[in-house]
């Protein structure tokens, strides 16, 4: 299929009102979800997932991508107005956004956050379109040993950088891999940890695990400390961002977008480090560096460009390699699976219409985000006033319905409850949940590729180092482990 045919096939899928509305509704849900402290972009995507089951695959996935993109921007609204990031990615936005809000310039800060977010989102989408296809065509030559090395590298880096400690991240990933062994064996079909229960033979339901791990712990945290968060909402003020200010910050926005694209395309790094790196680079290079941290609009632009630059780029490893780069893309991979699609290099061959449909939808999403975000800035107050002690019971009921709807199975609701407690305990012990979930998704793939490699080689481990691609990923894995361990030891020494 030529490029023209592929684009036309994609356009045929998304060139209708239903697809456009799915994307727009997703962005609205995301902005509102991201704007409510306690409902992060991750939870918004997880809660929206069951509602996509009756939709056409492309519309369902577009809706979730809209929630993702809207959620990342939405997180900046409470960060600026009530000094509470709606998502961890918006933490850097507080540094200059909230001082501006205290000066009565919240509207100006939010306006710049929106402009920077949309610009970075657009750059990120272009990066996805240019690089995903190239990477996928390269990955078509991967066999089981190459995929095994790639997944191992991804898990290593995700476990290493997701939390505060490499050991706790690794423990989290191991727990996820262990949970993924439940069910029938991939090669022989024998039982593993099923206790003879037919509900366990297919393994634990992925959506029950993810909603249990990311939504239910928030409810349990609220039960543990019901008055944990009360914030004062600042007024928007009368000053708004001007085009001249946007032009002045443009270099920082573009630099931040590229930082976001680069870090987002590496599995595991995520939006928060991109936002902080973009912020610190902008401060280093800005002629107004003395104003950073005191309400400098360029600081807001840089941090928002950094975190939104990640949004499209995290889809590069997801679409091209089938490896989710962060928790949200891990949830989105679930949507692909529910609709019978398997992201990865073969998707660029078998479902090229969906790939190009997604690209077109993503390009549109930057424009829709601009409109929805502008409205959300003005309408934030009622959203901020939703009482958390009404909101969380609502989340609980949504989770029950959503998880049941996957397989029409009450057992899955029990799994979700159990995983909620696992997530809560992990949170109390500061064990990051992201490596757990990503390892749970990649676990069967990792084991399957390992055992296929062993079958190919008759049990010889030499096959795992059979060519330059495997060597490349093994080297990256070793470098990551060494770098993360050195960083941890250095931080410990500095702390001690």
């Amino acid at each position: 299929m030529s490029l023209y045919d592929s684009v036309m096939a994609g356009l045929a899928l998304v060139g209708n009102l239903e697809a456009f509305l799915s994307l727009a509704i997703g962005i609205v849900i995301g902005v509102v979800g991201g704007a409510i402290p306690g409902i992060s972009a991750t939870m918004a995507v997880a809660l929206a997932l069951p509602f996509t089951f009756p939709m056409a695959p492309i519309n369902g996935i577009l809706l979730l991508l809209g929630v993702y993109k809207g959620g990342i921007f939405g997180g900046s609204i409470p960060a600026i107005l009530i000094k509470t990031p709606g998502t961890p990615a918006s933490s850097a936005t507080i540094l200059d956004g909230h001082p501006m809000a205290e000066r009565g310039e919240a509207g100006r800060a939010l306006g710049m956050a929106l402009w920077a977010s949309c610009t970075a989102d657009f750059v990120s989408n272009l990066a996805l379109i240019f690089f995903a296809g190239f990477l996928a065509s390269f990955a078509l030559s991967f066999g089981p040993p190459e995929f095994f090395a790639l997944i191992l590298f991804s898990l290593t880096i995700i476990a290493g950088v997701s939390g505060e400690s490499l050991l706790r991240g690794a423990l989290s990933a191991l727990l996820g891999l262990l949970l993924a062994t439940i069910g029938l064996d991939l090669v022989y079909g024998t039982n593993r940890f099923t206790f003879g229960d037919p509900n366990l033979m297919g393994g634990l339901n992925f959506i029950a695990v993810l909603i249990g791990l990311f939504a239910i712990p928030e409810v349990i945290n609220m039960v543990w400390h019901p008055t944990g968060h009360v914030g004062k909402v600042q007024k928007l003020g009368s000053k708004w961002v001007t085009f001249a200010e946007y032009k002045r910050c443009f270099r920082s926005i573009i630099r931040g977008s590229f930082i976001g694209v680069f870090l987002g395309s590496i599995p595991g790094i995520g939006a928060a480090p991109a936002a902080f790196l973009s912020y610190s680079e902008a401060r280093r290079k800005s002629p107004n560096k003395a104003n950073f941290g005191k309400g400098e609009i360029e600081g807001v632009a840089a941090s928002e460009a950094g975190n939104n630059g990640v949004a499209g780029a995290t889809l590069i490893p997801l679409l091209a390699l089938g490896v989710p780069g962060d928790v949200i893309t891990a949830i989105i991979i679930g949507a692909f699976m529910v609709h019978g699609l398997q992201p990865g290099p073969m998707m660029f061959v078998l479902n090229v219409d969906i790939i190009y449909g997604l690209f077109i939808g993503l390009i549109l999403s930057s424009g829709i985000l601009f409109i929805v975000g502008g409205l959300a800035i003005r309408g934030f107050r009622p959203v901020a006033d939703i009482p958390k002690r009404i909101l969380m019971p609502m989340v609980l009921v949504l989770c029950i319905y959503g998880v049941f709807a996957v397989n029409n199975n009450i057992f899955d609701v029990g799994v979700m409850f159990a995983m909620g407690w696992v997530g809560f305990v992990m949170g109390r012990y500061h064990i990051p949940a992201a490596p757990f979930l990503i390892a749970f998704i990649l676990g069967p793939l990792l084991e399957d590729n390992f055992r296929q490699s062993m079958l190919m080689s008759g049990g010889s481990p030499d096959i795992l180092l059979r060519g330059p691609i495997t060597w490349f990923f093994w080297t990256l894995t070793v470098i990551s482990i060494v770098a993360i361990t050195r960083g941890t030891l250095r931080a410990d020494r500095a702390g001690g």
Partner: protein
Amino acid sequence: MQLRLGIGAILAAIFLVTYATPNWVSTPSNVRNIVLSPLFWPYILGGLTGLIGLGLALSGWRGDPGEPVNDPIPDPGAGAARLVGFAALMAVTFWAMPHLGMVWTSMLAFLALAFLVKTRHPAAAVICAVAVPLILYAFFAHVASVAIPQGELVRLP
């Protein structure tokens, strides 16, 4: 915290390697190569869990300066009681769903949770407790064609 976590991981690994994997993973008798056996992966993961646990225990024992601390809450006793209450609520919800139906059970769970955390908006809680499960029922049963459990008492259209 780190030390307790490490010891917990070591104990879990010992249990996994010595009891859980040999007893709860079945393998065909004709598997010649251990790396192809269904037992291989759980044993590897068990061993790695033990190693990570050892690392955590050692760093906790040495007094890791970066060890995280949880924010204190004003009433930990009441908080623990609420957690027990919520665990009981989950158990009752799970049990009641096939008997009462998902809609009625969700309404009761919503109300119970809202009052467990002492909502300051009881009227809004009651309205939402009735409306949210009904709206979700309408969507999932009539739009998504999901067979929402109706229970044995009152059935919805």
